[in-house]
Each structure stands twice: as structure tokens, then as C-alpha cells.
């Protein structure tokens, strides 16, 4: 960041933007798929947050007279086996999936950044312990461990977020550790230390801000992963529990051969929503990677 400011001529007349290195947004915009992904994601978020207020059916309202109605008329996307409106459920399920993604990733980014930062900055025993811990968690057969823990703690949305968060930190820790290892040897850190700056000042003012970009990229991809994991857990019946809707448990309720063959409105929409959300987040992550890290040429 500071380099761009220094390189820019001090005296400029008129519009200088054409001569400047492209800023973040300009670099992001070049990635067509990332822009499209961002737009789709925004629409999904807005729809799932606001659309339920405008629908005439509540997501959990059971109407036994409307058993597995095909799309059309009063119910735009039909009804499920309890006569609940599929569209309304689809939208509130979006809130669940997206918030699981955000919260779970926030948890593991926090853990990973702290542990990886400590290991990378201080090295030695701390580093050894943190990295062995990371090895251990990575050696866990994660989905089996997750369903085990969730089934013991009780399957619900909070525990799903917690467990995904607790199992997901090692890659972030490795990333942050690597950044800290190289950054702590850089001249500006040595200079700062020479002026008598404390460790915490060096970490928070100089090292962390420079280490954060790969974390942002990893966290974006991580959100996509977390949404997939929540969907899988709910699909297996170990995640969000009905009547609360999630895309995964809507698919869980649609597992029978009869439904797959004759009632596509019960299983295609939630699946397509998961694909749309995860794909667009992945594209956004790819755009971030290209924009934030110009060195990483694909």
C-alpha cells in the first residue's frame, strides 16, 4: 500500500487515475466470473433476508390440505410433505446456511490467526506445539469426528457452527505462521524493533496487517466449504433440525426414490441454491486472490 503512495508523482495535473497502478476494485473487476459471483451472492443474500417478509406463507406453517403440491398458483415452488411452502423455506434456509458459513469461518479464522501468529512470531516450543496440534486436527477424519461430536453435544445450528469452527483452523494457522515467519525478518520489522517498539505493537501495527490478505482469501473459500459442510451435516440429519429449514435438511427430507423421481420441486431447488451460493462464493474468493495478490498468476 505505502509503496503505491510513494511511487506516485507528488505533482499531478488533472486526472491522474489513468497512470496509477490499478486499485483493488479495478483489479477485482477484471475477473468476470468474480464480478458475476459477487452479484449472484448479493442477490441471494438480499432475497433470503427480505423476501420472507413479502411472502404470504410462513416457512413453518403446516397445511395438510396442501400435501406435496406441484409448483404453481398460490405456492410458487410447490409445497413439501407437511404442506409447507417450499419457496418460503428456501429463503429462510438461505439465512441459516449463510450465517453458518460466516460464523463458523469467523471462529476458525480467529483461532487460526492467534495460534499461527503466536507460533510464527515466537517460534521455538510454542511453534512446535501449535504445529503438532494442527497436524493432529488435520489427521482427524473430519466429517466422522464432526458427526460424532455433534451427535454427543446435540445436533443444532449453534453446535454445528462451533464444531466446524473448532475443526477448521489448522490451514489458517499454517498460513498465518508462514507469513509471520517471513515478515518478522523483514527490515521494517527490525527497524520498528530498533526504535524500541513492544512485541504487541510490532505484531498489530506491522506484521498482522501485512499477513491478513491471504487469510481473507482463505476465509472466503472457507465460507464455501463451511456452507457445504453444514449442508452435508443437515442432509445426514446431524445438522440443523426441522422444523427450522436449511438447504441440507430440505434435501434430507427428499431422499426417497418416489420424491426424486416424481417431485423434483422438493429436491432440485435446495440443491441449486447450495450450488449457486457455494459457486459464487468460490468465484468471489478467486477474484479476491487475483486482486489482492498480483504475484499469484494462475
Amino acid at each position: 500500500m505505502s509503496a503505491t503512495t510513494a511511487d506516485r508523482p507528488v505533482l499531478t495535473l488533472g486526472d491522474s487515475s489513468r497512470h496509477r497502478a490499478p486499485n483493488l476494485w479495478q483489479r477485482y473487476r477484471r475477473h468476470r466470473l468474480a464480478v458475476a459471483g459477487g452479484a449472484v451472492l448479493l442477490i441471494l443474500v438480499l432475497l433470503s433476508v427480505f423476501l420472507p417478509f413479502f411472502l404470504s406463507h410462513a416457512p413453518n406453517a403446516i397445511d395438510l390440505t396442501a400435501y406435496r403440491k406441484p409448483p404453481g398458483g398460490d405456492h410458487l415452488l410447490g409445497t413439501d410433505s407437511s404442506g409447507r411452502d417450499v419457496l418460503a423455506r428456501l429463503m429462510v434456509a438461505g439465512r441459516v446456511s449463510l450465517s453458518v458459513g460466516i460464523v463458523a469461518v469467523a471462529i476458525y479464522v480467529a483461532i487460526g490467526t492467534v495460534l499461527g501468529g503466536l507460533g510464527g512470531y515466537f517460534g521455538g516450543l510454542i511453534d512446535g506445539v501449535v504445529m503438532r496440534l494442527a497436524d493432529m486436527v488435520l489427521s482427524f477424519p473430519s466429517i466422522i469426528v464432526i458427526i460424532t461430536i455433534v451427535s454427543i453435544l446435540g445436533p443444532n445450528i449453534t453446535n454445528v457452527m462451533l464444531v466446524i469452527g473448532l475443526m477448521g483452523w489448522p490451514p489458517i494457522a499454517r498460513l498465518v505462521r508462514g507469513e509471520f515467519l517471513t515478515l518478522r525478518e523483514r527490515e521494517f520489522v527490525t527497524a520498528s524493533r530498533a526504535t524500541g517498539a513492544s512485541n504487541s505493537r510490532i505484531i498489530f501495527r506491522h506484521v498482522l496487517p501485512n499477513a491478513i490478505t491471504p487469510v481473507i482469501v482463505a476465509a472466503t473459500f472457507g465460507m464455501a466449504q463451511a456452507i457445504l459442510l453444514e449442508a452435508a451435516l443437515s442432509f445426514l440429519g446431524m445438522g440443523v433440525q426441522p422444523p427450522q429449514a436449511s438447504w441440507g435438511n430440505m434435501l434430507n427430507a427428499a431422499q426417497s426414490i418416489t420424491i426424486i423421481e416424481e417431485m423434483p420441486w422438493l429436491w432440485l431447488p435446495p440443491g441449486i441454491m447450495i450450488v449457486l451460493a457455494v459457486l459464487s462464493i468460490n468465484f468471489v474468493g478467486d477474484g479476491f486472490r487475483d486482486a489482492l495478490d498480483p504475484r499469484a498468476k494462475r
Binding site: R132, F140, P141, I144, I152, F235, L236, I260, V275, V278
Partner: protein, 320 residues
């Protein structure tokens, strides 16, 4: 070679020990205790609480946690994983008959994904920025974004229900001889779902790795010698490009194992994964712990195998 592997093995020992410790803690968080769960409720009621306490004492349930951990570890090391809460069969026996179907599925997926992924990766690299390169990139993004169970439902809809080419569930046709061809038909759909997800990173890494080696000097030298282009690519560039890919494949085994759990459930594949799900539903924690342990060992072994293959294909590693 032997010393190198021994060193790696010694490093994975504390990791395995740590895993068993965490497993034990998790098992202790489970509601109820194995003894109460194993006792006939009627008998326990007749004999009174003293008898229940005596049983617990005898089985060491009142020992402090570290002692119980060591006892449990000793039993586990001897292959005694306890008994199922549900049908009282030994856990090792229950898991034992489920290991082979899972391993069979995983091996098939690994082999197919390498056979498909590596050539496509090479193609993608040799035709960089061509339409096929873009197509493979997009497919790669799609395969990591589609939930495996949703893809499985789609394939069941098309290939089992509409076209009736492949069966939607099971491993063999019931009541018929277990022939290889018969089992192959059951294998196609689950293996395809898992194989797609597994091949995508292989394609990507093969492409990146080959693009990197192709600019190396020894490749230029091989070309300058007048070797045929195919020979240069296969014998010189690809051979070195494959080194990091071996690691990618082995490090991806945990993800494959996770995918197998879900896919076994969808296709009623009689492996460890569907046993795990059944044990979760039946709250059969002893079986669940056993599966966790076996799966962790499988992952450690695959890491070790990666190290071994790595040191064979790249002799420099052994002295690192």
C-alpha cells in the same frame, strides 16, 4: 529409505496418541456410561444400586480419568474396541466387515481419479488458455461447489430412474452370484460422484506443476537434443511434475474418506460410512469411537505412504 520412514513413523506416533486422547475425551462427553448402557435395566432394578456400583467398580469406571484413559488405551492397543451398545457384538468385528467395502470404493476412486485427472491436467497445461483449458477450469469450480449428495441424487434420477442403466443402492444384486461385473454396475454411480470431486484438484495441480517444469532448463536441453516432443513431455517434464502431485493425492485421502461417508449413506453402500451414520442414529458411541480411530489410522497411513512414495520418486527427500 528405511531410516527415513522410521523417522516419519516416530513423528506420527505422538499424533496418533493425541488423537486417542481426544477420542477418549469425546467418548466421555457422551451421555450415559458404557456399563449402565450394557446392563439389562430389569436386572439393575432388581439387584439395586449397590450392585450397579459394584459392577462399575469392577470395570474401573470409578477410577480417575487418566487411569481410565490408560486402561482404555491398553485395551485398544490389543484390538479390543469394546462392544456395541445396540447388538452387543464386538466393535472390532462390526467394523471389520465394513472396512473392505469402504477401502474398495476408495481405491477405485483413487485409481480412476488419477487415470482421468493426470492426463486431463497434462492436456490442460499443453493447451494452456485453449477452450478445453477453460472448460476444465470451470468444471473444476463446479465439482468443488456441488454437494456430493445433490450430485448423487441427480445421477440417480438420470441413470437409475430414467435410463435404468445402473442400480441406485447396494453393492451386489441380492440373490444372485457375486460376480465382478455385477459389483461393477453398483460401483459406477458412487465412484463417479466421488471421482469427480477427487479428480478436480489432481487436474489443477498437474496443470500447474507441468507448466512449471516445462520451462526448466533440462526440458529445453532435452528438446535441443532433438528428442520427440512426446518423449520430452512424458519422460522429462511429466516425471518431475508428478512429484508434488503424489503428495496432493495422498493428502486428499481425508477428504475422500469424508466424502465416502456421505456417499455410502446415499447409495446404501455397506461400508464404514453408513455404519457410522447408523451408529450416530442409534447412539452407539463405542462403534463410533472405533470408526473414528480406524479412520484416523487410515489417514496417518496414507500420509506415511505419501512420504514413502515421495522418497522413492525424489531421492533428494531422504536426506532432507
Amino acid at each position: 529409505m528405511g531410516r527415513f520412514l522410521l523417522r516419519r513413523l516416530l513423528i506420527s506416533a505422538p499424533v496418533l496418541l493425541g488423537i486417542t486422547l481426544v477420542m477418549f475425551i469425546i467418548a466421555n462427553m457422551a451421555p450415559g456410561d458404557p456399563i449402565t448402557a450394557l446392563m439389562n435395566p430389569e436386572q439393575a432394578a432388581n439387584m439395586g444400586p449397590e450392585w450397579v456400583e459394584a459392577q462399575k467398580e469392577q470395570l474401573g469406571l470409578n477410577d480417575p480419568a487418566p487411569v481410565r484413559y490408560l486402561k482404555w488405551l491398553g485395551q485398544t492397543a490389543q484390538g479390543n474396541l469394546g462392544f456395541s451398545f445396540v447388538d452387543r457384538q464386538p466393535v472390532s468385528h462390526k467394523i471389520g466387515e465394513r472396512v473392505w467395502p469402504t477401502v474398495k470404493l476408495m481405491l477405485t476412486v483413487l485409481i480412476v481419479s488419477v487415470l482421468v485427472g493426470v492426463p486431463l491436467g497434462v492436456l490442460s497445461a499443453l493447451r494452456q488458455y485453449s477452450w478445453i483449458d477453460y472448460l476444465l477450469t470451470v468444471i473444476g469450480f463446479l465439482t468443488v461447489s456441488i454437494p456430493s449428495f445433490f450430485l448423487a441424487m441427480g445421477l440417480i434420477y438420470i441413470f437409475s430412474l430414467k435410463l435404468d442403466w445402473f442400480p441406485a443402492a447396494g453393492m451386489y444384486t441380492v440373490g444372485r452370484d457375486r460376480t465382478f461385473l455385477d459389483s461393477l454396475r453398483y460401483m459406477v454411480l458412487p465412484a463417479s460422484v466421488l471421482g469427480l470431486a477427487q479428480a478436480a484438484p489432481i487436474i489443477r495441480y498437474t496443470r500447474a506443476s507441468l507448466l512449471e517444469t516445462i520451462t526448466q532448463e533440462y526440458v529445453t536441453v532435452a528438446r535441443a537434443k532433438g528428442l520427440a516432443e512426446n518423449g520430452v513431455i512424458v519422460r522429462h517434464a511429466l516425471r518431475n511434475a508428478l512429484i508434488p502431485i503424489v503428495t496432493i493425492i495422498a493428502l486428499d485421502v481425508p477428504r475422500l474418506l469424508g466424502g465416502t461417508v456421505i456417499i455410502e449413506q446415499v447409495f446404501s453402500w455397506p461400508g464404514m460410512g453408513s455404519l457410522a451414520i447408523a451408529s450416530v442414529t442409534g447412539r452407539d458411541y463405542n462403534v463410533l469411537m472405533g470408526i473414528n480411530l480406524i479412520a484416523a489410522v487410515m489417514i496417518l497411513l496414507s500420509n506415511l505412504l505419501a512420504d514413502a512414495i515421495y522418497s522413492i520418486v525424489d531421492p533428494r527427500i531422504r536426506y532432507g
